[in-house]
């Protein structure tokens, strides 16, 4: 056989070392004697890819990596410390904007929402509820509308955080949902409770005297108000949720009333200022929602038609509708809010179309444009193109739920809806989206696992190689050190170190970095042992001896003969170590000594599930996180295991 020369051939031999041998074999042997000769690397790969479970696991791990790396990039609105009190413990649902078809048929009269569910009233006098209707741990499903409400012809309906109130054509008031704090109806027990402002008994017994006199029915956080045209106000509910509830109990002569998150705001006939019964509240007005300079409410009223004609309250701000059709804002809107739209000359919002959700405001202008602005965390202030393109006439109405908007035409048909449609994995105890936290927490968990395992591997390689290569007293000393470190109980010691470092004042990033170091520094011994053993084994093996006796240089032996053997061990250790580092981090964070709250990791997200109440009632707060964590570690371990099997020459001979 002629000898090929040149760099191309050299490369060919480097990449396909078996080929040359095969050529020789082909020449010398008859066809039936031929045995395919494959390089060890190829063999390992073949063996690994024959294992279907391992391939599946590898794909899952890869997908998981992609998920945690790329998914957070699409979550522009995500922030670690995001909390939303009205969206606490919402179960997984995507039905928050699913207006029932039957209601659309009957024609939509009004839509109202305050918390996680939305209440709709049809032109036929029926009420419908959609969204997350389970009320916390009380076991009450607000979607179970009482039969008497279904039977009655309802004229007004409003939704609070955990209760609904409806009034029928006879003036009878119905309430359902949570009634623990006197949210609806009159009851003798509520009368004795000092923290409850009770519904007047005659209202409960006889209903509203004249239904047509009702100006407004509105509900807030466990609180309800009915305002009559003559200025009579009926108000009841939980006194602790609204600091100024008492000021409204005997109040007469209001023309408008609404609930923010913490206060009740009213407007009296004079319309010069917002009535809240509290001093120094709501005095500074802005013309723009966000950045405009503030003016005193007195001056603002003077400048804009000398009168406030109506108010609408979001969670922490109040919209003032002025007599000259301009709008003013008191209070704060969230920082990432969308500013008020620029209106063309002569365009103004029709006062009776303006509706406020938890953070956003929506309204229709006299020129037929629909705008929504304010808080845009769930896209509730981004009007869809379809809506922006159509001209709406005066018969159109727009309603806002808590984070949703519904545009309804003159016949009561739903034209479009936009905003929050729900949470695929529910929300946590702070009201943050579990799905977003899982994606971001996964990134953190995996980063910590990866960095920790890299630290482990580096220390392990250095110590293992030195010990295995030098031998003698260096070996003994290093192995004794490894034994001492290996004897330190990992979890308790890591916890204690982490707790100690918590007393030192440092940034969250620094703490996380130190956490990685702690996990890495305490976990290298296994790798060091294994590497040392492999190196010793390889050094003593016949092929190394043969290479030595042939006069191959020491470095060449190390690279060509020892390194491939050792590499496989390192590879397996990286895989298995990665999973175990992730588990250590999760355990530490779960116990509260790893990564701390606003920063999510899979471990500290599960920290919420330390008591049986949460485990039982809010299953979504632990099921999904556990699943992600479990699937990731299981798959990584399966891959590591398969890799080890594939690399182990003994395992094939046994089969």
């Amino acid at each position: 056989m002629e000898k090929k020369k040149g760099i191309g051939n050299w490369f060919r031999r480097l990449l396909f070392p078996g080929k040359e041998l095969k050529e020789v074999a082909d020449q010398q042997l008859t066809e039936k004697d031929v045995i395919e000769i494959t390089s060890p690397g190829k063999q390992v790969a073949q063996k690994f890819f024959r294992n279907k479970l391992a391939i599946g696991a590898l794909v899952v791990v890869f997908l998981m990596f992609c998920f945690v790396i790329f998914a957070p990039k699409f979550m522009k609105n995500y922030s670690d410390s995001y909390t939303e009190i009205t969206q606490k413990n919402v179960p997984p649902t995507l039905t928050m904007m699913s207006v029932p078809a039957k209601m659309q048929e009957e024609g939509i009269k009004s839509i109202d929402g305050y918390g996680s569910f939305t209440l709709g009233l049809s032109n036929a006098g029926n009420v419908y509820i959609w969204g997350a209707t389970q009320i916390n741990t009380s076991g009450i499903d607000i979607g179970d509308i009482p039969q008497e409400v279904l039977d009655a012809n309802i004229l007004y309906a409003a939704a609070g955080i955990d209760h609904c109130i409806a009034i029928d054509d006879q003036g009878k008031i119905y309430g359902w949902g949570n009634n623990r704090l006197g949210q609806y109806g009159y009851s003798p027990e509520a009368e004795d409770d000092p923290s409850i402002v009770v519904m007047p008994q005659e209202l409960h017994d006889n209903g509203i005297p004249n239904v047509n006199d009702i100006k407004k029915l509105t509900c807030g956080w466990q609180c309800t108000a009915i305002l009559m045209n003559d200025g009579t106000l009926y108000i009841w509910g939980n006194m602790h949720t609204y600091a100024n509830l008492e000021n409204f109990v005997e109040k007469q002569g209001l023309v408008d009333i609404d609930f923010t998150l913490n206060y009740i705001v009213g407007l009296d006939k004079k319309g010069q200022t917002i009535f809240s019964g509290l001093r120094k509240m709501y005095e500074d007005v802005r013309e723009d929602t966000l950045v405009g300079p503030t003016t005193k409410i007195k001056d603002f009223v003077k400048a804009h038609g000398k009168k406030i004609v109506g108010i609408e309250a979001t969670s922490n701000s109040v919209v003032l509708m002025m007599a000259d059709n301009t709008l003013g804002y008191v209070g704060d809107l969230p920082l990432e809010a969308v500013g008020m739209p620029k209106l063309s000359e002569g365009e103004y919002f029709l006062p009776n179309t303006i509706s406020a959700g938890t953070y956003h405001i929506v309204g229709i202008t006299n020129k037929g444009n629909v705008y929504s602005w304010g808080g845009n965390h769930f896209g509730q202030a981004t009007v869809p193109k379809k809506v922006a393109s159509i001209k709406v006439d005066e018969s159109y109405k727009v309603f806002s739920g808590a984070f949703q908007n519904y545009l309804v035409d003159g016949n009561g048909k739903l034209v479009d809806k936009w905003g929050l449609n729900g949470y695929i994995f529910g929300t946590d105890t702070y009201g943050a989206d579990e799905f977003q936290r899982i994606a971001n927490g996964g990134l953190m968990t995996m980063t910590i696992g990866a960095v920790a395992v890299i630290i482990e591997i580096i220390i392990g390689i250095i110590i293992g190689c030195i010990a295995g290569y030098c031998g003698g007293w260096v070996d003994i000393l290093l192995m004794r050190i490894a034994e001492v470190v290996g004897n330190i109980p990992l979890l308790p010691f890591a916890l204690a170190l982490s707790a100690l470092l918590a007393q030192v004042n440092m940034s969250a990033t620094m703490r996380i970095f130190i956490l990685m170091c702690i996990i890495g520094v305490l976990g290298w011994t296994g790798i060091a042992y294994m590497l040392r053993a492999q190196i010793l084994l390889a050094r003593e093996s016949e092929y190394v001896l043969a290479a030595k006796s042939m006069g191959v240089r020491e470095t060449r032996i190390a690279i060509k003969h020892i390194l491939p053997n050792v590499l496989s061990v390192i590879l397996v250790q990286i895989t298995l170590g990665f999973a175990s580092c992730m588990l250590t981090e999760s355990s530490m964070s779960y116990l509260g000594f790893g990564v701390q709250y606003p920063q999510p990791t899979w471990g500290n997200m599960l920290n919420a599930a330390t008591n049986s109440t949460v485990i039982k009632n809010y299953w979504w707060q632990w099921v999904f996180t556990s699943l992600f964590l479990s699937i990731t570690t299981i798959c990584i371990n399966i891959v590591g295991d398969a890799l080890r099997d594939a690399l182990d020459p003994k395992s094939s001979s046994k089969e």
Binding site: L53, R480, E483, V484, N487, I488, P489, L490, L491, P492, F493, L495, A496, L497, A499, L500, Q503, A579, L583, S586, S587, Y590, L591, G592, F593, G603, L606, A609, T610, S612, I615, K616, W619, W622, S626, L629, S630, T633, I634, I636, N637, I638, D641, K654, E655
Partner: protein
């Protein structure tokens, strides 16, 4: 053998000293000065009786007194450590350390650490021993079975299930079991050690205790099955591929004898090593389980002390873990020596 034991003992002793020294120094990094706090409190209490000019002098006097009392009147880390152990005299000429039975003082509980650590230690030991017995009782027969029937459906299932088992952190098991047995089935209590307000004695007390311990024991056992099963299986597989087994089979020895007498004995060596290590790992592993089920164990105490920064307690428990670990290593080595004659000869 005697020389070998002595050698190992000496080694354990040295490592113990080394580790406790490291631990002691890590904990002395805590920015707390007990002498200073005590002196300050006492001076504040006496403030009314002292002239303003005397306060500083009195404080210095008291501070020195307390520093001498607590043995912190020197910055020498080694001296402090030796005082803590009890082989270096304090200022008053007496030793008062671990060797004299002074295990420290819990500032949270206002009691000697020894008195508060007794009960939790008993509970933890009980829990772990129980779990070990059950887990070994299940895993060893299962592992042997899987190894003998290699490649069977049982073996393959067990392989997959055990990967799942050892990939999951223990708290997920806890959450899952609490959900199943307490929230869904209502069979077992989710936490605690006894029926609240009960004051049972005798058998009634025992059954009540068992009732509350079932779930923690199940959880711990379940989470430790995977690792041990895999280990037994691997060890058994290695043993079964030995030449002596082939010889025994060729000779016509009954399969039962081959497996349980010839192969099992050989497989025992690696198993023993790991069982002991694993048993010790349980102690720190049961920490999460204990805190999850609100058991009065060492793990719960450890976590509680860490939350309240009660460092004498943490230090002692940590030392206990280290001590247990070293003793475990020693036992492993000794048993190894007993089971495998080669080890004895070599050393």
């Amino acid at each position: 053998m005697g020389k070998y034991i002595l050698k190992r003992l000496l080694y354990v002793f040295v490592v113990l000293i080394l580790l406790t020294f490291i631990l002691y120094n890590v904990y002395s990094l805590v920015p707390q000065n007990r002498a200073y706090t005590d002196a300050k409190t006492e001076v504040n209490a006496m403030k009314n009786m002292l002239k303003p000019s005397e306060i500083d002098a009195k404080f210095d006097e008291l501070y020195l007194k307390y520093q001498r009392m607590y043995g912190t009147d020197t910055d020498n880390k080694i001296v402090r450590y030796l005082r803590w152990v009890g082989v270096w005299p304090f200022y008053d000429g007496h030793c008062n350390g671990l060797l004299q039975g002074n295990f420290g003082y819990s500032w949270e509980e206002r009691a000697e650490v020894v008195t508060i650590i007794g009960d939790p230690m008993k509970n933890t030991l009980f829990l772990n021993l129980f779990v070990t017995v059950i887990a070994l009782g299940i895993t060893i027969p299962l592992g042997i079975r899987c190894a003998v029937k290699r490649g069977s459906v049982l073996d393959k299932t067990v392989q997959v299930v055990t990967i799942v088992g050892y990939s999951l952190p223990i708290f997920i098991f806890c959450i899952f079991f609490i959900f199943i047995f307490c929230s869904v089935l209502h069979w077992l209590p989710p936490s605690g050690m006894k029926t609240p307000g009960s004051n049972y004695t005798g058998w009634k007390w025992f059954w009540d205790r068992v009732y509350y311990m079932i779930l923690p024991i199940i959880t711990l056992t379940f989470s430790s099955l995977a690792y041990m099963t895999r280990l037994t299986r691997t060890a058994m597989l290695d043993a079964l591929s030995m030449d002596c087994i082939r010889t025994a089979r060729a000779k016509g020895v009954r399969e039962r004898t081959v497996i349980y007498s010839h192969a099992w004995r050989n497989a025992l060596i690696p198993i023993i090593t790991v069982v002991i290590g694993w048993f010790l790992g349980l102690f720190s592993g049961s920490m999460i389980t204990e805190s999850m089920f609100a058991l009065n164990g060492m793990g719960t105490l450890f976590l509680k002390s860490m939350r309240t920064a009660d460092y004498d307690v943490i230090m002692l428990i940590e030392c206990f873990y280290v001590f247990i670990g070293l003793i475990g290593n020693l036992i492993t080595d000794l048993v190894y020596g007993l089971v495998d004659p080669r080890v004895r000869v070599n050393k």
